[in-house]
């Protein structure tokens, strides 16, 4: 049976196969050859990133790529589908993934135990992410969610401290609860529609019995919100992200919460056909609360990694502010939210890697005692500040474009409450970024014991932060991938032309 009778070419399906099976093969090899875990893992990471780039180019050239796994068509078999949204997240995952891999070779150099287990677990996490982004099957998505959750929880525990184990166990329980809630929804949908293929379910939902479908949608979205750490479900995130080793925190904050957000969006737009107005308003209110609550708590933290973790809680909120705006007709809000998701992925990974450098350098991450780090680690502080620019939403960063598009939609609909929240979140972000940078610039009161930081660790952080800034200049290139509604194309292109990008 051909790969895809209706598809434009074979390149897309071949690269989809590569982005799922290369990291899997790498993970197995790393597990089998623990002594060679780092070099084997690095090669697998490079190959995976290269295949992701090739898949992105193939999808940009030929349109959506499709594969029938096992050669079986939709209701019987499982489909892979990579459209613009999929490859945008795959590409962000690859950018963060390959840089974190570079960082990890230096970070784990002196710790054999963490090194031998980081690589297989991290490559399996990458496998799960890629498999999730290309899957077009509700049950298969559940399996990828489980894989993702177990890999993420195991990585969280890697540090081995009591705090890490507590955070990891709580994370595991939350993750399993979220997956089971999602699975309950899948079971109800199969009961009503007799299929788990995304496109077939989307065609069935309008005619299916109402209460059961509403409960199914509610259970699936609630489970995914728990995994995305949307306020008030964020309680598990700071301990887990704050206590993991730096490369793991980067991956958890940048990628893992984005995967469940992607799935919420995929269900909302492609399967449920838009969802209810009041549900969107509820998500918007929770998002706004997350922006304010997360930012205020970030500002109050005295430990750098917890500050960055609470900042993730706030930034996740922005993604959900798009729901009421998009439902009311501003499809540009989707592009804005997705742009923010990509920019946050790059910037937040850069921040956690910088935090890892500061932790390695001074042996602690107490913000008040970061004095004079700027003289010793100029690259790291530059990375942190550049990432901060994107988190605050200052031009010309990717974060700026995302917030600008959200603001545009909010102004158009005269939702001034949301406008205020978006702006206030930016001000609070500026406050917590400058709190860190300010302490880092303060001259040291006394000599402290310090450790050298390998240059690879500094450069990886800087590379990701620079990518978050450059993302803001590539709007014309990326926005065609992020079209989730008919209206967003025109607006995003206008902005690109007007902004001179």
């Amino acid at each position: 049976m051909p790969l895809d009778p209706s598809g434009p070419g074979l390149a897309g399906p071949a690269w989809m196969l590569a982005v799922v099976f290369l990291p899997l093969a790498g993970a197995l090899l790393c597990f089998l050859l623990p002594r060679l875990a780092a070099p084997v893992g690095l090669v697998a990471a490079a190959l995976t990133a290269a295949s992701t780039l090739a898949l992105t180019l193939a999808v940009m050239a030929d349109g959506t790529a499709r594969t029938q796994l096992g050669g079986w068509a939709a209701p019987l078999g499982i489909l892979w589908r990579a459209d613009g949204l999929s490859v945008a997240l795959l590409a962000m995952t690859a950018a963060v993934g390959v840089t974190v891999s570079l960082y990890a070779t230096a970070y784990f150099r002196n710790d054999e135990h963490e090194r031998t287990f980081f690589w297989p677990l991290w490559l399996l996490l990458w496998t799960a992410l890629n498999a999730l982004f290309v899957s077009a099957d509700l049950f298969n998505l559940y399996v990828t969610l489980e894989l993702l959750g177990f890999a993420a929880a195991s990585l969280t525990a890697l540090g081995g401290s009591a705090a890490a184990l507590t955070g990891a166990i709580r994370y595991l329980l939350v993750s399993v609860l979220g997956s089971l809630s999602y699975l309950l929804g899948v079971a109800l949908i199969y009961h009503g529609c007799g299929t788990v293929d995304l496109a077939l379910v989307a065609a069935c939902v309008p005619d299916a019995p109402r209460p059961a479908m509403q409960v199914a949608a509610g259970a699936m979205i609630a489970g995914l919100l728990l995994k995305t750490a949307l306020f008030p479900f964020h309680f598990w995130l700071p301990p887990a992200h704050g206590s993991a080793p730096a490369p793991v925190s980067a991956v958890l904050s940048a990628l893992v919460v984005k995967a469940s957000f992607y799935l919420v969006l995929r269900l909302w737009v492609d399967v449920l056909g838009g969802g209810g107005r009041w549900v969107a308003e509820l998500l918007g209110v929770l998002g706004a609360a997350a922006v304010l609550w997360g930012s205020v708590l970030a500002l109050r933290q005295e430990r750098l990694k917890l500050l960055i973790a609470y900042s993730t809680v706030a930034q996740v909120g922005y993604l959900f502010i798009a729901f009421p705006l998009a439902v009311a007709g501003g499809a540009v809000a989707w592009t804005g939210a997705l742009y923010l998701a990509l920019a946050h992925g790059l910037a937040k990974a850069a921040m956690f890697l910088s935090a890892g450098n500061l932790l390695r350098f001074g042996g602690h991450d107490r913000i008040a005692e970061l004095d004079s780090a700027v003289h010793r680690l100029p690259l790291t502080l530059t990375a942190f500040a550049l990432a901060g620019v994107s988190i605050m939403g200052l031009p010309p960063s990717g974060g700026f474009i995302g917030k600008w598009l959200l603001l545009e939609a909010a102004f158009e609909q005269e939702r001034f409450g949301l406008v205020a929240v978006i702006l206030l979140g930016g001000v609070l972000a500026a406050a917590y970024v400058f709190k860190v940078v300010g302490h880092a610039f303060t001259p040291a009161a006394r000599e402290r014991r310090i450790r050298a930081v390998p240059p690879g660790m500094e450069w990886s952080a800087l590379l990701l932060a620079a990518a978050a800034i450059v993302l803001g200049l590539t709007l014309p290139l990326i926005s065609p991938l992020l079209q989730l509604g008919p209206a967003s194309a025109a607006s995003a292109v206008t902005l690109a032309a007007g902004g001179g990008a």
Binding site: F21, L24, L28, L147, A151, S161, A162, T166, A208
Partner: protein, 238 residues
């Protein structure tokens, strides 16, 4: 959940430490009420369910001749939705990696068996291995297959561990890792090869070879499942 993380001396009132002191009783009661409401809603939803939509059973029956096996469950697990099964096997390997990354195994050598456990494995283990092989073979046309057979093999491992049966040294070395990932490795490798055949797709078994391929995968998967379950019982890296 009962573990308390070390609290930093400078940790503010809003830091993560607070969550571990437990919720106030009022919040706890509210939480219970909310959970009861959710549960009641779910019960109502299930009671309101109409007749189930016709599932995929008819579609499976229609195409089962091309799957290489005649038992519908095996056909779905190893052919129609084989990719799900592959990822489930990855979850099992991941579980071992996760358990090994957290700590060392207690070890089975220290177990001192009672009179029953000293004799039982000698009788049971060979029989269980035989039944596992039977279950694997019968899975092609009747209930059975790699997961059931693998669980039995895992049971053999647990029995041997409880009885303090000394494993040869090589069994804890690379051989353990190889046999734990064998199922995934064979499954994935064959799946990729199937995609490289002219006109093939990932995990697309040509009908003529399907039975052989499925049996090969199940054999490897059975071994891995058994090893993974026994390794998880041991509880950590060797």
């Amino acid at each position: 959940m009962m573990l308390r993380p070390r609290t930093d001396r400078q940790a503010g009132p809003a830091s993560s430490a607070r969550a571990d002191k437990g919720l106030p009783p009022a919040a706890r009661a509210l939480l219970v009420l909310a959970l009861l409401a959710v549960f009641a809603g779910l019960v109502l939803a299930v009671l309101s369910l109409s007749e189930p939509a016709p599932g995929l059973a008819a579609a499976v029956d229609e195409r089962i001749d091309e799957s290489g096996v005649s038992h519908p469950v095996t056909a779905v697990l190893l052919n129609f939705r084989g990719y799900d099964t592959l990822l489930e096997l990855v979850v099992l390997v991941l579980a071992v990696m996760g358990a090994w990354s957290v700590g060392r195994a207690r070890g089975c050598a220290g177990n001192v068996p009672g009179p029953l456990l000293r004799q039982l494995p000698r009788l049971m283990a060979p029989l269980m291995v035989l039944v596992a092989g039977y279950l694997l073979w019968v899975g092609a046309h009747a209930p059975g297959g790699a997961f059931q057979a693998g669980s039995l093999l895992g049971g053999v491992g647990i029995l041997l561990c409880l009885s303090g049966y000394p494993l040869p040294g090589w069994a804890n070395g690379p051989a353990l890792r190889v046999s734990a990932v064998l199922g995934v490795a064979v499954f994935a490798a064959l799946g990729v090869v199937a995609a490289l055949l002219p006109g093939g797709a990932p995990l697309d078994w040509p009908p003529a070879q399907a039975k052989t391929l499925i049996l090969t995968i199940e054999l490897a998967a059975m071994l891995s499942i058994g090893v993974v379950l026994a390794a998880l019982f041991a509880g950590g890296r060797p």
